[in-house]
């Protein structure tokens, strides 16, 4: 059975009898990974933005993910594990989505010309989605790689140092823009692609979805830039002490009483 | 020289052509369809009202039968129709509806229970039967005793064309789109196909076929103001005419629709008036009650059209840059009703005039609407003059419409004729002695002749402007061969059209391309259209009576004694007038002898045979008082054997169940 299938495929007749079911699965997986990533990004953004509350809050969250509060000890490897999952999702997602890219210059110019001619918002949005997706190949890679290999270097000072002294801030600006635009458009597209909230009046729903999408994008960009600014500020202040990890007040024996 | 051989060549991809093709193909013959445009763009798509078939599913159609449909149609035709063909038609129409249903047409269906409808401007509640729920629904349409018009929401023709065209694709029938037949190939009284021009490349190709079927639709564009599409130019009829052998029947019988949007001619449905819309003049005065105190706006199409023109002639039309018109006021129907029940009217006003019919009045004027005449055929659809030439649909004078066709009867005709003629064409092709037996040299001659004509147009030194001639013809027809016809106008039109025909032989082109060249197309078409226009005008001039849509002010009475006959026009060579002949209708065999139509003027001259036949018919009916309606009909005018075998048999209805009706009928 197996070998005859192979032969049929080898001769090039594989698709003849019954069409492969893979395109269906891939379509689903593409959306699925996109969805999970986008939701993860929102979560992620909330976590890192805890820096806006206080250094301790950010530290707490970090330690929480390292299992500190369960095991009484940090296991940065747990973060690596999450990062590895995200990377897998990213790779799978990018691998699938890249099928939709213009595959050559002619396709690119056709689409670009088309977009210019039509001035149709959703079409233009797709262009930006593809463009930001493409950018993510490059700007997400260093970030996730660092997270994978140095999960212990996450914390108010550690991150601040990386952002400022480590010269990551330009990368993060790009990453932030790319992810938020891409994810926001992506979620909107998911909603219309699968007709999630159609309701009795799909046109009105779509309008609302579009508004919501822009509101979310603006919100997360604002949050993101504020967060980044916070890290930059910390990074500049902490530059002289570059490399020194953050230790929350509670764990610093001496000043404990002073605070209270 | 390129020759394409096929068994059947169908000229026209509208409803009629497609259905003919499917019929022949099913019987195993190769078919090629030619069409100026992709078939789904044919003008059949424009029919909104619906298709008549006596299914009697809705409560207001209860009791409807072929018999009543027959009578409505014959009366509508003002006794000009061939009654046997009408019988064939009414018996096949329900089968056509059912076939289309089986092919996927989303006919609107009956919903059980109460609903509110507007009848003569009054709100009425009617209750549909439980057993009818889910069957094909019928609506009201002008000129019918029962609700008989099956419909698909507001797009019957579109949906029908979609369905039939799809089935033709499924049957793998090739349609050569953007091609135009410009001459028929014929020899010794037999037709062998056509010379065809590719409208993209300009190339001429000969299509040689055993049987050729003209299904090219109407000729509305010989008029300036028409509801017809721009491709309805009567070219198919002209091709038959130009053979010099085949003849056109009753070309003077032209129907006008009262409410064409002015000046574009786009149709707004009769429903506007049916639901209570009013016609108003320049002073905002509702004038129809002055002329027709009883039926007012709801009088029949020809009567309303005539009154509107009469009123305009009195100087009471509203003035505009494009001429005078009447106002149609439907504002009183209310926004809710207009936006929902008259959705298409709302859209047309909105898109084409930027007018909101819930607030503004709509400018309308009667417009040419339907060509009753066409290539004369016998009941099989074949020309009695030119063997191997068939015709179906609006292009044919199969003659079920006579001098006036009923709304909803023409899309019905297209598919019914398609079913019937398709079978007969298959029979024709089955016969061995109908193999194609002409030498290619003959085909070559035809090709060369046609190429020569085109070359003359392109290279010749002509000076006349094709589109100017066309515009003059159209204006002339609308002004002088319109709703009101008078001898002197008609004579003037005939004279002027002849002059235009002569001028058209001297057309010169500004644009010399041989491929796609719109000016060249206008040039060779206008030469043909003028001949068709002359058949209309001359036929109307000679017919000194009024019958159906043909209304002579100087001869307002129907005159059966002299004119119960069909006009047949043929064209000889370089003549500038058709030769007319007449084919008498045989009163002695009529199931429904001539009488009063039941509306319009009650004033006509009887045929000498009418009283005798009427007495005979009454006698048979009296004698067979207890017999079934089928037996009475059979006794009066047998027609069953005229139908192709597979299409015979009675039709099931809720009140005439299958076991009782159909089986015993066989």
């Amino acid at each position: 059975m197996e070998s005859s299938n192979q032969l049929i495929a080898g001769i090039g007749l594989a698709g003849t009898a019954r069409k492969s079911r893979w395109p269906a699965r891939l379509d689903f997986i593409q959306s699925g990974t996109g969805l999970v990533l986008a939701l993860f990004m929102w979560g992620h953004m909330f976590f890192v933005s805890t820096i806006l509350i206080s250094n301790d809050a950010m530290w707490t969250i970090t330690k929480f993910f390292e299992g500190y509060f369960f095991f009484g000890k940090s296991y940065p490897i747990m973060v690596s594990f999450v990062v590895a999952t995200v990377i897998t999702l990213l790779v799978v997602h990018a691998f699938l989505a890249v099928r939709k890219f213009p595959i050559n210059y002619r396709q690119f110019t056709t689409f670009h010309g088309h977009m210019k001619m039509m001035r149709h918002e959703d079409t233009t949005l797709w262009f930006w989605q593809a463009l930001t997706g493409f950018a993510l190949f490059f700007v997400a890679a260093p970030h996730v790689y660092i997270m994978l290999t140095h999960p212990e270097l996450i914390g108010p000072f550690e991150s601040g140092d990386r952002v400022w002294t480590g010269h990551y801030w330009p990368l993060y600006i790009l990453l932030l823009l790319a992810v938020e635009l891409h994810g926001g458009i992506g979620l909107y597209r998911l909603a219309v692609k699968w007709d999630w909230f159609a309701g009795p009046d799909p046109a009105a729903t779509r309008k609302r979805l579009k508004t919501l999408k822009w509101a979310l994008t603006v919100f997360f960009l604002a949050l993101g830039f504020a967060t980044l600014a916070a890290y930059v500020k910390i990074g500049i202040a902490h530059a002289p002490d570059y490399g020194k990890p953050y230790v929350p007040a509670a764990l610093q024996a001496a000043p404990q009483g002073v605070n209270k | 020289m390129k020759i394409i051989y096929t068994d059947v060549l169908v000229i026209g991809g509208g409803l009629a052509g497609l259905r003919v093709a499917i019929g022949a193909k099913r019987r195993g013959h190769d078919v090629v369809i030619l069409s100026l445009v992709p078939p789904k763009r044919s003008h059949s798509a424009a029919a909104q009202g619906g298709m008549q078939a006596s299914l009697a599913n809705v409560i207001k159609g209860q009791g409807d039968t072929e018999d009543i449909h027959f009578e409505d149609t014959v009366r509508g035709s003002d006794w000009g129709a061939d009654q046997k063909v009408v019988r064939m038609f009414v018996n096949t129409a329900p089968k056509a509806v059912r076939e289309l249903a089986a092919w996927g047409l989303p006919w609107s269906r009956v919903r059980r229970g109460d609903r509110t409808v507007i009848i003569n401007g009054q709100k009425v509640t009617i209750t549909e039967r439980d057993e009818a729920h889910g069957l094909v629904a019928q609506r009201d349409f002008g000129g019918t005793k029962k609700w008989r018009t099956c419909y698909v929401s507001d797009g019957t023709g579109h949906a029908m064309l979609q369905t039939v065209s799809d089935q033709a694709i499924g049957a793998q029938i090739p349609v050569h789109e953007r091609t135009e037949a410009i001459a028929l190939i014929h020899d010794a009284g037999r037709c062998y196909g056509a010379i065809v021009r590719n409208l993209i490349t300009g190339e001429l190709v000969a299509y040689v076929a055993k049987a050729t079927c003209v299904a090219s639709g109407g000729a509305g564009r010989i008029y300036r103001v028409t509801t017809n599409a721009v491709i309805c130019e009567g070219i198919g009829s002209a091709l038959a005419l130009e053979t010099g052998i085949a003849r056109l029947g009753n070309m003077e019988a032209i129907q006008f629709h009262p409410t064409g949007i002015f000046p574009a001619g786009i149709l707004v449905t009769e429903g506007c008036r049916g639901d209570g819309g009013l016609l108003k003049d320049v002073d905002g005065h509702r004038f129809m009650p002055d002329y027709e105190p009883e039926k007012k706006e709801l009088a029949s199409r020809d009567v309303v059209s005539r009154r509107m023109e009469e009123h305009i002639a009195k100087g009471k039309g509203a003035k505009s840059r494009f001429g005078d018109h009447i106002w149609l006021d439907i504002t009183l129907l209310g926004e809710q009703h207009i936006r929902h029940n008259l959705r298409e009217v709302f859209e047309i006003c909105h898109y084409f005039m930027g007018v909101d019919p819930t607030k503004d009045w709509i400018p309308v004027r009667p417009a040419q609407h339907y060509t009753m005449g066409g290539v004369r055929t016998n009941h099989t659809g074949e020309s009695p003059d030119l063997k191997g030439l068939f015709a179906a649909g609006e292009a044919a004078c199969w003659d079920m419409h006579g001098f006036n066709r009923l709304g909803g009867n023409s899309v019905a005709e297209t598919v019914v004729a398609g079913m019937i003629v398709g079978e007969f064409i298959a029979d024709y092709c089955d016969r061995l002695d109908n193999e194609v037996d002409i030498p290619t040299s003959l085909v070559h001659d035809f090709l060369k002749r046609e190429q020569g004509k085109l070359d003359t147009l392109v290279d010749g030194r002509g000076t006349e402007d094709a589109s100017a001639i066309k515009a003059e013809m159209q204006d002339l027809m609308t002004a002088k061969v319109g709703i009101f016809r008078r001898g002197e106008d008609l004579q003037a039109a005939v004279d002027e059209l002849q002059r235009l025909l002569v001028r058209s032989r001297n057309i010169g082109l500004r644009e010399k391309a041989r491929g796609a060249n719109p000016e060249l197309v206008t040039a060779y078409r206008v030469q043909k259209m003028l001949k068709v226009a002359l058949c209309v005008a001359y036929g109307a001039l000679v017919r000194t009576e009024s019958r159906g849509a043909h209304f002579r002010q100087d001869f307002p009475r129907r005159n059966d004694a002299e004119w119960l006959k069909r006009t047949l026009a043929s064209w000889k060579g370089e003549e500038t007038l058709p030769s007319l002949a007449w084919e008498a209708l045989d009163v002695g065999t009529m199931e429904l002898p001539p009488g009063w139509r039941g509306y319009g003027a009650k004033d006509y001259v009887d045929h000498p045979d009418t009283p005798g036949r009427a007495a005979d018919v009454d006698a048979v009916k009296a004698k067979m008082a207890d017999a079934s309606r089928f037996d009475v009909q059979e006794a009066l005018m047998p027609y069953d054997e005229l139908l192709p075998e597979p299409l015979r048999g009675r039709n099931e209805r809720i009140d005439e169940p299958m076991d009782k009706t159909c089986e015993s009928g066989k």
């Binding site: 395109p23 396709q107 699968w194 | 763009r41 424009a46 089986a102 006919w107 505009s320 299958m658």
Partner: protein, 264 residues
């Protein structure tokens, strides 16, 4: 109800105006993208025609006037001139739509017309949508596949729920104008994409209980990246469809059905 009404003459009557045409009309400048593939020596170019606007002028009237009075070689397609047949789709100021029902007064005094992209160009504004549509239909099996191929026509038709009939008709309203395909970025990039019109066809037959096919059969024709999975949900199709077909919801629906087969 009518008597009071019949005395009122609306002041703002139809666009055709009862004013005898005395009002000053705009001078239009219509730029047309011209190219005839049969004469490749003449490269594609924009040609501008001046035209005096008239009341109630549609592009059907405008273009015919240009052809009759200014340029007999100009190619374009109109058939019904009533927004019914789908012949006259073209790109008006960058958007595909039906020309015959576009009033010049809805446009600026200067506007551009171009042929639909994607389809084979016949010349100037005329494109061969019909050929593509036929190919699409053959590829998808775009006709009802009868469960019972030879019904007894003497018998009453099969019953159908009235609402279902209406629903099917809603999808049957497509006039194959090609606007949706010309507007589709996916189709522009990938020539073999079936387009919204094709997916809508499938949705239409899926809905029809008279059709013998199952989802497995439909998967065979649209279950790949040239079919429903190729659609990137740009929804331009939905936004330009002159018949307002519910393309977005239909494509999503078909997609869900087809995806569900991926796991069965």
């Amino acid at each position: 109800m009518s008597d009071a009404n019949s005395k009122i003459i609306p002041i703002a009557k139809a666009g055709n105006g009862g004013d005898g045409g005395s009002a000053a009309h705009r001078q239009l400048k219509i730029s047309v993208l011209r190219y005839n593939p049969q004469e490749p020596s003449q490269p594609p170019r924009m040609q501008t025609y001046p035209l005096e606007e008239a009341d109630g002028m549609t592009l059907f009237i405008a273009l015919n006037e240009i052809r009759e009075k200014q340029d007999p070689s100009l190619q374009f397609d109109f058939v019904c001139r009533a927004g019914i047949c789908g012949s006259c789709a073209m790109v008006i100021n960058g958007r595909p739509t039906l020309a015959c029902r576009t009033l010049t007064k809805s446009l600026g005094a200067e506007f551009t017309l171009a042929p639909l992209p994607f389809f084979e160009l016949i010349g100037d504004l005329s494109v061969n949508t019909g050929k593509w549509m036929r190919g699409m239909s053959e590829r998808l099996g775009g006709w009802l596949h009868m469960k019972e191929p030879n019904p007894d026509l003497r018998r009453a038709e099969q019953k159908m729920d009235p609402d279902l009939a209406d629903k099917i008709y809603e999808l049957d309203r497509c006039v194959e104008c090609g606007c949706c395909v010309a507007a589709c970025g996916t189709a522009r990039m990938r020539k073999d994409f079936v387009g919204a019109v094709g997916l809508n066809r499938v949705a239409r037959f899926r809905l029809d209980p008279r059709d013998a096919r199952t989802d497995d059969d439909y998967y065979e024709v649209i279950g790949d990246d040239d079919g429903v999975f190729g659609c990137m949900s740009l929804l331009a199709c939905h936004d330009v469809c002159p018949k307002d077909l519910p393309l977005a919801t239909q494509i999503a629906f078909v997609r869900r059905k087809m995806v569900s087969l991926g796991w069965s």
